[in-house]
Amino acid sequence: MEQKEKSLIFEKFNRSMHILGKATLTISIILLVCIPFLVGIVYDSMPDTGGFLAGFGKVAIIYYPVAIVEFLIYTPMLGVGGSYLTFLTGNVTNMKIPCVMNAKDITGVVDGTPESEIISTISVATSAIVTTLVVAVGVLLITPLQPVLENPVLLPAFDNVVPALFGALGLKYFAKQIKITVVPLAAMILLCVCVPAMISQTSLLIIPAGALAIGIGYILWRKDKI
């Protein structure tokens, strides 16, 4: 096949991926946003506007920059179709990226070529379908166990799901960059011990802690220490 013909087919494919991707993402966003409102209407429990704005403000400060960084870093390796599907189906760093890298490695395609983009789209789509099926089967199996999961004896387990998460994640990230960790961790401990009101305000603490860690990380990076 001539290179020119191949390029034309691939350009047409990419255009269709953009149209399909944008339409899929837009419909999905509408569906996802509608769910809390639908529950709110049916059960007379509409979302609290003040609570939403306060919560969203805190979340956006942390996660929108992370989303932009992920978009800038991962989309070139995922290609057009792969990017739309990856960011829609989530579990980006823990599943989709390693899955795509593995598929590219196994099939031996060269990065930046049309073949590489085709493989990454196939890989992400397959991964998304398999995950949804596995989790769906699992959910069907755990639904009969619902009364057990809701037993009051297990309440401390579910009330401590956040400490369990940050214990596990803390070790993983602290060990990764101990030089960045020391100051923000010590500062947050000191702050919570000296100002007890901050103990229940972790959502506020995240902002100075994150800024401090990024600032220290940047200085260390500039000095080639990390």
């Binding site: 944008k22 579990n91 009330d159 070790l171």
Partner: protein
């Protein structure tokens, strides 16, 4: 708050309506994934790719995904106690990941005046507000894709200039920035747990976090030192479930 309120909250969080809408949303995403798969497969054939290569990509991706999917299922179980099964199922199947969902749910819970993500304090309005914050909070990368993906990727399709100058240049700060952000995030929570011990003698959160850290250290040891890379898929969810189990026993031993 009484058991009756918890019961009525759970009826909302695990209602048939939620199962239905979540099922519909997931079905839509599976169908679209299938469309992407078929289109890219056909285009691969058209540009002369070997069918065996394309099939190998499908098979390797399917097998690669099974184990991490079980880890996601464990995440659904961990999240379902507070947010119900259907919503946890949706959040971990679409856009999200366990770390994000729990943290955001916790921030949202505090923003509406709860002391944290606790089942005993939840009600219908708290559920819908938390759900809305979780949804809007994660749209950043989707918005970037809708508005900027085409233009951004075009930059990479242009021939590169100054490659000699680029060579030897150190990698950008982007990767470190994400790690630093998460270090800050974890520092805030661990700091609060230590403060809770010192000021309120509430040991359970810190002990639960400590158990999770110890289990995670074991996972890291076997993954990195013993080269059992497969275990990495289960490290976060596995550490959490063991720590949550420990919390039940610790609660019986030392109280809240």
């Amino acid at each position: 708050m009484g058991e009756k309120s918890v019961e009525s909250y759970r009826q909302i969080a695990n209602s048939g309506l939620l199962y239905l809408v979540v099922g519909m949303a997931l079905l839509f995403i599976v169908i679209m994934s299938l469309v992407f798969l078929v289109r890219s497969y056909r285009t691969g054939m058209k540009i002369g790719m070997d069918k065996k290569i394309l099939n190998r990509a499908i098979l390797s991706s399917a097998t690669f995904t099974v184990l991490p999917s079980i880890s996601i299922l464990l995440g659904v179980i961990a999240l379902s106690g507070t947010l119900g099964i259907p919503f946890s199922w949706l959040r971990l199947s679409v856009i999200g990941a366990l770390q994000y969902e729990l943290n955001v749910a916790s921030i949202a819970a505090e923003s509406i005046g709860l002391s944290g993500l606790r089942v005993g304090e939840m009600n219908g309005q708290a559920f819908t507000t938390i759900g809305l914050v979780m949804t809007f909070g994660i749209l950043g990368s989707l918005i970037c894709c809708i508005f900027f993906l085409g233009r951004y990727l075009k930059r990479f399709q242009k021939p590169k200039k100054n490659t000699e100058k680029e060579e030897g240049k150190k990698p950008g700060f982007g990767v470190h920035a994400t790690t630093a952000m998460f270090i800050g995030l974890c520092s805030a929570y661990i700091g609060a747990y230590v403060g809770d011990v010192v000021r309120n003698q509430n040991y359970l959160p810190l002990l639960t976090a400590a158990v999770a850290a110890v289990v995670m250290a074991a996972f890291e040891y076997f993954t990195n030192k013993k080269n059992l890379k497969m275990l990495d898929n289960f490290s976060v969810a596995g550490s959490m479930l063991i720590a949550m189990t420990a919390a039940v026993f610790l609660h019986k031993m030392i109280g809240g």
